[in-house]
């Protein structure tokens, strides 16, 4: 596999990139901070069984002008990638977002509009070479309108919707779209929040995601128990959702 990982410097993206290089795959890192990318590349090189050099380029989801050059650089370094993984996104609590409209605008733009635009760049390149894998981190927060994730969840609902359509439209052309729906995972992003039951570890999520890509699964809940949790939540009647705080 020759994979481009947007968000490879931290959290679940870092863990996925590690699982891939540890089994001998080639990885190209995309992220916002050069110093961070450089250190991350060293970490991945040390984990690669053949000590393969790891390339990287600046790519910022807040700035769509960086998308095409970053993917070009990845293509050149990997000799044509066959997999694109997107874990990067913004997160803020509902309280923070309600108190700050500017922040809300930024989060909606980055998590939905810009992520979709990045995926459009990526899927065009993949389709042009006969297909490949596109695995994108959405969230269980997009499965049902819920009080604590009203705004953040709406971006993920839109993203899940887009990824489902991509799968419908381009599956036959060889595009393997994986919509990843993590439940609560203990990363930097959720640091400071109280972990609910079934909170997952990033290394576990990474294993699930790599397996889902290999098995060409269109949707993956991780940790797996969240598939069941969300099944129940999706079927809760409105009068219950109005009452509960979940």
């Amino acid at each position: 596999m020759k994979a481009v990982v947007l968000g490879a410097t931290s959290g679940m993206g870092r863990e996925i990139a590690r699982r891939l290089v540890e089994r001998g795959d080639s990885v190209f890192m995309l992220g916002r901070d050069v110093a961070n990318l450089q250190k991350g590349a060293g970490d991945l090189k040390a984990r690669h069984p053949r000590g393969e050099d790891i390339g990287y380029a600046i790519c910022d989801l807040a700035d769509p002008r960086t998308f095409a050059p970053a993917l070009d650089a990845a293509d050149a370094a990997l000799g044509g990638f066959d997999t694109v993984i997107v874990t990067a996104a913004l997160f803020a609590t509902q309280d923070q977002l309600e108190a700050d409209v500017e922040l809300t605008h930024r989060l909606l733009t980055v998590n939905y509009a810009n992520t979709v635009v990045f995926c459009e760049h990526a899927r065009k390149r993949l389709l042009a070479r006969g297909g490949g894998n596109l695995a994108v981190f959405s969230s269980v927060a997009g499965d049902r309108g819920r009080k604590p994730v009203a705004l953040y969840g709406s971006t993920k609902a839109g993203l899940s919707h887009y990824l489902e359509s991509l799968d419908h439209k381009f599956h036959a052309a060889g595009l393997n779209v994986v919509c990843v729906k993590p439940g609560f995972v203990k990363t930097e992003m959720t640091a400071g929040l109280k972990p609910p039951p079934f909170a997952g570890e990033p290394s576990r999520v990474a294993l699930d995601v790599v397996r889902a890509i290999d098995a060409r699964k269109p949707v993956v809940y991780t940790p797996t128990i969240w598939a069941l949790v969300m099944l129940v939540i999706r079927w809760l009647p409105r009068f219950v959702m109005r009452k509960i705080g979940f």
Binding site: S10, N36, A46, G51, A191, G192
Partner: protein
Amino acid sequence: MDDGSKLEGWGRLPVPGRELLSTNLESITKGAVLSRGLGRSYGDSSLPAEASDKVAATRLADRILSFDPETGILRAEAGLSLAEMNRLFLPRGFFTPVTPGTKFVTLGGMVASDVHGKNHHRKGCFGAHVRSLRMRLANDDIVECSASQHPDLFYATIGGMGLLGHILEVEVALDRIPSPFILMETRRVRDIDEFLRELARAAKTSPMTVGWIDCLSQGSNLGRGIMTEGRWATAEEANGHAMREPLEVTLPFELPNFALNPFTASVFNALYYWKHVPERDERIVGPDPFFYPLDAIHHWNRAYGARGFTQYQCVLPRKAGPEAVREFLQLLTKLRCASPLCVIKDCGPEGKGLLSFPMEGTSIAVDMAITPEIQRVTDVLNEFVIAAGGRIYLTKDRFTRREHFRAMEPRLDAFLEVRERWKAHRLRSAQSVRLFGDKA
């Protein structure tokens, strides 16, 4: 800042506090008064003195910065866990030069505690193999230190419980191993005198030794147990053995407080002792069952119930003689405070870490549930250790009194002097307030 969130060590007994968690160690250590890794120290050395203290959690800062397969020299961020190091480097023929009894520790924690292991009589502590440290000081500067660069800072940090500065990066030389398997030999030992003889004998022939003692047995059985020794298997001996993921389960809830009591403990101990049917047994095992038998049960600390537990670990100097060890065991038995876990180990010479625990002699570690008696028990044991010229292991300690610590630690003034020189008094933990006299 007290919002109900709590932090706890391995012995449980949570205190109010919260940690800052980030992959960016440089940013979270700025202004922080304490770093903590995986929270495996038993006592309060990784706990904040006050709920509002800024505590940096290192465990997400776990990148390998470089590894040279020629020399085995590894440089990594302080949050890299030993479990991860083993997973990555065992298959490549490298292993940490020194490992404690759990792999759920970070590199930074291994330096701060200057951990020792079954090979202490040969290899010393972990710090003896550390080549260089990158540190964030109390004044927020970042410096590199080593045996040749700021050696005072370097040796005070090794075993210094994080009180000199925050460890950001660690450079250590890994050992090349002939195979990822251990040739393990175990034997039943009938009493404490035989145990001390066996430990001394094995230290000469085996690179790794440790003993489990049934410290509830009395009279002529006092100090009976099982002696374990081992060495890395050669490639030929390991032939046909496949690397396997260790089987690990989780203790999903805490047991009631009464589950582990002197009666169940003595039943367990008798079974464990007699389970070892042959007097002597030799086999090839993976590193996990040899080094980390208790890691097979995640959260085994829940077995002690909500009351929590502690470990009393001391080292009695060789010059105090075998009588001291025998008397110490008699004292333990008399106090009726012991649990199934009691470990005895022969230590080699003292290392260069300014406050490093081991000294030439015999180390004894015993788990104890928290009972209303715990303070008295700790005091009695400490008074014995002081009289024998020994000392305790800070990483395990929660109940030692300051005056006792002072009495057993003649090196303390030298340590405090280095701390003063590096203006590190802003850094503190619940333990440093209790033992080092840091401002509460």
